[in-house]
């Protein structure tokens, strides 16, 4: 067999951790020391980032558009809450229970969602999440309805770390779960499975012609994405020891889509950066102007979609080329 005369390393080394990634993951650690009074907000960011990651897997990589992803977040949140309320207060057990429930729900609903076009998918995901929302609203004995689920009592993490008033345990717990799930997602998207998802997004007509069972792949990633969302929901319940009905609300699904567009789809990091920027902006803008802060959010959204379609990550990726161009001039 003839030896190949080119360097294959760009593909072989594509999966190596880059220095910028290491720096990125040091930021939340630094933030812990820099903003000790804002740990509740930082935990929320980590949890929402995990939620955004779950949507990035299905939308950013596989191209499945969803306006009802909060359904799985909410299922996970209620699962963890109910488990804790009825005596299964171990956090990791709760996470596992929430993941199993949300994953199963994702698998079942995938067969509805994956029929038809983007518009069908938008409507089906929206419809499913609306039904679940109203079911949770109605089942007051079970969920507490609009009053929320009370009496969620968490046992110490690993039997060792109690959830303290300052939110230290909650922050580290959320951050470590986020990192581990991110690490798994990173492996997933760089694997042949992940590449086949990108293939489906880029050219769904070609994939069956190279032997890919497209439907099966989409079912798989939708199911995984649902499981991720469920874990995020469970984290929110466990770190706040409360479940409010709005975990399943339409606005949560819509906000998530917005976060992902802001950060940039299909890069994993876009989901994380989008969440951090969005939630920080929300925090400060609503502090300045509690009633009208969404004005600025809307303005930012319009500007992004018009001038930086691929979001913050897309802009960051173009920076080196822009810099090179400037030097060339």
């Amino acid at each position: 067999m003839a030896k190949i005369s080119i360097d294959l390393s760009p593909l072989q080394k594509a999966s190596a951790w880059k220095p910028a990634e290491v720096v990125f993951w040091l930021l939340p650690v630094i933030a812990f020391f820099l903003f000790p009074k804002s740990l509740a907000l930082l935990s929320q960011i980590a949890i929402t980032a995990l939620f955004a990651l779950s949507l990035d897997l299905i939308l950013g990589y596989a191209g499945i558009i969803s306006l009802g992803h909060a359904a799985f977040f909410g299922l996970g949140a209620y699962a963890a809450g109910l488990l804790a309320k009825y005596g299964w207060g171990d956090p990791l057990l709760g996470l596992a229970g929430a993941a199993v429930l949300a994953t199963a729900a994702g698998f079942i609903s995938s067969f509805l969602v994956l029929r038809g076009s983007d518009l069908t998918r938008l409507m089906v995901t929206l419809g499913v999440s609306m039904m679940l929302y109203e079911a949770a609203n109605k089942a007051t004995d079970f969920t507490g309805g609009v009053d929320g689920l009370q009496g969620v009592e968490m046992k110490p993490l690993l039997g060792e770390f109690t959830f303290d008033l300052y939110g230290k345990t909650a922050y580290w717990y959320s951050l470590i779960v986020l990192f581990l799930m991110f690490w798994l997602a990173r492996r997933l998207v760089q694997s042949p499975f992940g590449h086949s998802l990108r293939g489906i997004k880029q050219n769904v007509k070609r994939m069956p012609a190279i032997g890919t069972p497209v439907h099966g792949r989409l079912v798989a990633v939708y199911t995984i994405g649902a499981g991720y969302a469920g874990v995020a929901g469970a984290l929110l319940t466990q770190t706040t020891q409360f479940v409010s009905l709005d975990v399943m609300s339409f606005s949560r699904s819509a906000e998530l889509l917005l976060i992902l567009v802001l950060g940039g789809t299909g890069s994993l990091y876009g989901a994380l950066i989008g969440t951090a920027v969005f939630m920080a902006a929300q925090h400060y803008l609503s502090g300045i102007n509690p009633q009208y802060w969404q004005f600025w959010l809307g303005a930012a959204l319009v500007l992004i979609v018009l001038f930086a379609r691929d979001g913050i990550m897309g802009f960051l990726n173009r920076l080196p080329a822009l810099a090179a161009k400037k030097r060339g001039d």
């Binding site: 997933l188 880029q202 190279i210 032997g211």
Partner: protein, 250 residues
Amino acid sequence: MAPVLQTRNLTKRFGGFAACSDVSLSVEQGARHALIGPNGAGKTTLINLLTGFLEPSAGEVLLKGETVTRLGQHQRVKRGLVRTFQINQLFAEMTVLESVTLSVCERLGLGWSWWKPVGSHGAAVDEAAELLDTLRLLDVAHEKTRNLAYGKQRLIEIALALASKPQVLLLDEPAAGVPTGESRELFETIGRLPRDVTILLIEHDMNLVFRFAERITVMVGGAMLTEDVPEAIANDRRVKEVYLGEALDG
């Protein structure tokens, strides 16, 4: 020799219009078989029926003697029936090497593998690189598909199919849109494929067809008109009429 690909009374109707009617085609193992006919003769419809892209209204498709009529596209690919498209169907944002590796991975059954990065599946990457070498695409291996010239993209279209190790390769106008000089080269590449790959070709350029094909089927209006060796087809009065008629009309 036994036919490797056969159809029995294959028919596809769109409403009242029969795009393909009662086609019984037989392609021998190792053949260099061409499918010709004027525009609208049903050639691409036939390819779509063979590969499972369309479901037939009636009739059967047999691959190596077994019926595959009810199988999905990807299942037929797994059995060795692979196509290219008349209009490029590529992965614009992937590099050439990534695209072909993707196709190799699917053939090797790695499509569900999710733990190891693509680049660590050394056998798949090496095989993709070798394929690029034979198609003289190695120098653009790390270029994104969308940045390449059309002629190169046409080769990737074929590379993706070859990565599936076809036993029967259906080429739907492989030289469509490619400048004359490059299309010669393209057909030399196709001509170098080993004989254990059976080839069924749709092509408009008669020079290319008569240089390449050893057997020619002529389709008109969704039905088979005739089938024979190239010399006989060239002298067939009905075929001449079909093509002359078209030439005069056009």
